[in-house]
Symmetry: C6
Subunit: 79 residues, 6 copies
């Protein structure tokens, strides 16, 4: 991992709305995949694999749910 | 991901009842799958796959449970 | 999902005892499977599959553990 | 599930020590498997399967870790 | 499970440093595997399996992360 | 495991920014894999396996998300 890769857009967990928090969760999950597999071509190919695989789509959802739990707590659930 | 896709119906984690919180968890889990695989036809086909696969049904349950944990905390557990 | 399906018996996370909280966790996990696969016959067949598969039984346990964590927090751990 | 099956020994999450909390986590995880597969003979056979499978042993550990997180919180971490 | 097996070294979640907390998480995860598969010879063989399997190594990491979350909370994150 | 292996760089969960917290989560996840499989050559080979496998990349993301949840809580979410 190059330390200079941006892992959290804006370098903050605070967002204005739940919707933006959810978008951040998706981006954070994708950036971990990017830092683990930096090759754009390979990553693009793998995206085609998991986007058509039911089990992997569910697993993507599990990861986003875990990232979102952290973001939601950071924002006091936008109460 | 198009940023304009609605990821949280109502853009809020607050719900009137646990039942509605549970429905929100299901919807949020499904919207992540939708944003990852936007093609309606492919998604419909994959739904047929996981709805008849015991392991995947359990995995769906795991994801909904994680989403619901966040929603329940946001609502102070509807105490 | 039909919104009218009951997803949380009693529409509350509050239970009198840990035992009842555990029973609620099991029911909530099963109701997610039911809402994802509403066909009783298929669900009965799949139950026969996971009840004899060690890996799936462990996965069921993981899901129930996650649901129970939420219920236990809702009840202040019945302290 | 028969509602009368004991799911939490002692019907309490409170234990005297972390060791006892850990033992409770293991028992709670096993009781979910028991309630999902009540047949002693089948369960004994499946135990032989997962006890010799590296991936399943790791998955058992994940489930116990999740149950223990709840028990530890219930006991204020025995601080 | 023999109740007399030590499941948490020192019978406490409190550690002096994050490093020691991490070591405790690893030990706790291993002791669950030991209590589930008490045979040293079989366990040694399985260790050879998961130590050379990428997916299982990742799963070990997931379990340790979950154990560590509990230990870190118990120690108020060593703030 | 040799107890002298560094498992948490800096022996602290406290970081200046979310970005640094994310980098720490990645490092902590990798150090667990390193302590479980200390052989550099084997680990390098396995990295080649999971970096080209969609399901494993998702699983890496799940583990990092769990580590990050702990680090974020330790830092009061850098609010």
């Amino acid at each position: 991992m190059s330390e200079s890769v941006q892992l959290i857009p804006g370098n903050s967990l605070i967002t204005a709305t739940p919707q933006e928090g959810r978008e951040l969760a998706i981006k954070m999950a994708r950036l971990i995949i990017k830092v683990t597999q930096p090759d754009d071509e390979i990553r693009g190919r793998l995206r085609g694999v998991y986007a058509e695989d039911a089990a992997m789509l569910i697993a993507v959802g599990q990861t986003v749910a875990t990232e979102f739990a952290t973001i939601a707590a950071a924002n006091n659930y936008w109460r």
